[in-house]
Amino acid sequence: MPETAMDRAASATPPGIARRVRGLSDRAIAWLFVAPTIFLLLAINIFPLIWTIRLSFTNFRANRPNADVEWVGLRNYQRILSDPEIWQTMQATAHFLFWTLFFQVLIGFALAWLINAKFRSSNFWTTVIVLPMMLSPAVVGNFWTFLYQPQIGLFNYVVAFVSGADPTSFSMIGDVPLAPWAIVIVDTWMWTPFVMLICLAGLRSIPESIYEAAECDRASKWRQFWTITVPMVLPFLMLAVLFRGIENFKMFDLVVQLTGGGPGSTTELTSINLKREAFEKWRTGYASAYAVILFVTVFGLASIYVKALNKVKER
């Protein structure tokens, strides 16, 4: 085979340079690989965030793009923080957060502990329990309104059957005192498996030898549970609470389909309230300030919590 000029030039090039040309430098590859991700996140996460902050100081309304936009300074923030309606939605959110976390931790941990006993076919049943959390909250939440119907709903029928009450005497999503619990029940049904899975991972990370040592020291099962199991699972449990806490603070789809914030505004969580301000009343500037406040709240609470979590982990 005759050698071309190209081949001769190629073989004359020192191997180091050849590799350089053939493959990009490590630094270039690193940037090439990371850049698209960073770009997309900047364009669709950070840029909008900055824009939101900007809008929050104006009286802009998205349904009137051609109207004059005025710079209003901190007035939006002042109005939000002094608005009693917003404090009411914050309370509704706090109620929802507290009770969903309470039930999910309680039931999730108990289930994980039971599953960790490794009875026959425990893997299969774990998968069955996990099913609700994989499904679309909006679609499932919408169907729960059917289960909650006073006359024909399965939920009311079962509750009436067990308690002996009249199934038409209460409406989970129509009665003011019951509606906040209606959303807690569905969220607990849906997300307990998440807490369970993380607890299960925690339980499985405890080496058997610790229990064996405790057994040699004649520690009672009860004592083993409180001095070994609980402290070793605690960091995992706290992580689960962090994830669920952030998610439920953002909660929108499930609750908007279940109650739409009603009756009145008893289940109007912050995200639903925000949606109403931004996309129904079209007070874009005001809603932007609201969004910034929510974001700062989540971020602040999460950072404090992560510090506490790290302390627990160090112990």
Binding site: I29, P36, T37, K118, A138, V139, I152, L154, I198, A278
Partner: protein
């Protein structure tokens, strides 16, 4: 277990634990079974009191889901030819055309798979770089990527709504694909970095010595090793995009609307057509349930956001 462990639970305790877990699982399964059952009920069976557990199955809900209908006008009624026309005919209705459900379902498929492909593709590249190279400010970037998930979707939706409006991306498939890709990327990068961290560097180094370029080593050594991790990450991105509601309901209305905002809007003639809603929900939820059952082993890590290894 070959030898009885001293510390393990006794047989009786195991039995009690098993019974309790199975009871919980059955209770938790009830609403899902009820959705599936309601899809096969007639509209009168669906709203019967007491709720009917045993009923004669009917495809009425499915037919209503896929068709639009109008009341029969006396004198203009043609005799039904197919089985579904007969079901509609017997209710005193006549089919006027297909419903929008099929279209919405296809939108979910296109947007779901499109965004999954993009986020896994970009996520794998970024995760590889984060795992193998000294990227400046690596920890800050990783935290930044994670923190993007803390924002409430509605809060981000305001500027995205404005941005999409001015770019002509509102209510388009491309816009939704880009948006879901951005949302999923954070999870994808975190999960994939964990998977790639576990592949020993020695494999690549050996390949480099054999004369592979970095690119070739990445493609021929790292990718096959990370295949399982990439697949389970993909499932997670797909499930997220499939289930997403908040952005979809705010940013799409007609052409690019996905199934989750559509299903709750299904109504019938004279009150909500619950069998049709249930039929739509069943078709929509079924793929995820099947995935979950088939791939349960690979899903655990994604659920826990990679925070819990193995």
């Amino acid at each position: 277990m070959s030898t009885a462990s001293v510390t393990g639970p006794s047989a009786r305790l195991k039995w009690i634990a098993g019974v309790l877990v199975v009871v919980y699982a059955l209770i938790t399964l009830m609403p899902l079974l009820w959705i599936m059952a309601t899809g096969f009920k007639t509209s009168s069976d669906a709203i019967a009191y007491p709720p009917k557990v045993l009923f004669e199955p009917s495809l009425e809900g499915y037919v209503n889901l896929f068709t639009t209908q109008t009341r029969q006008v006396a004198g203009q009624v043609s005799t039904p030819e197919t089985w579904y026309e007969r079901i509609v005919h017997d209710k005193g209705m006549v089919i006027t055309g297909p419903s929008r459900y099929g279209e919405r379902f296809m939108n979910s498929v296109i947007i779901g798979f499109g965004s999954t492909f993009l986020s896994v593709f970009l996520g794998t590249l970024a995760a590889y770089a984060f795992s193998r190279y000294r990227v400046p400010l690596k920890d800050d970037l990783m935290f930044f990527i994670l923190s993007t998930r803390m924002m409430p979707p509605i809060a981000v939706a305001i500027p995205i709504f404005l941005m999409f409006r001015s770019l002509g991306l509102s209510d388009t498939h491309a816009g939704m694909i880009l948006l879901y890709t951005a949302v999923n990327l954070s999870l994808a990068v975190w999960l994939l970095k964990g998977f790639i961290d576990e592949i020993p560097r020695e494999y690549e180094e050996a390949a480099l010595i054999d004369g592979y370029t970095r690119f070739q080593a990445f493609r021929k050594v790292v990718l096959p090793q990370a295949a399982t991790g990439i697949a389970s990450t993909a499932i997670f991105c797909l499930i997220f995009a499939w289930n997403e509601y908040a952005f979809a309901v705010l940013l799409t209305s007609g052409t690019a609307q996905t199934a989750p905002p559509f299903i709750p809007t299904i109504i019938g003639v004279g009150g909500r057509d619950w069998p049709a809603v249930a039929a739509g929900a069943t078709i929509f939820l079924m793929p995820v349930m099947v995935f979950t059952i088939l791939l349960r082993k690979h899903l655990l890590r994604g659920i826990t956001f990679g925070a819990v290894r193995k």
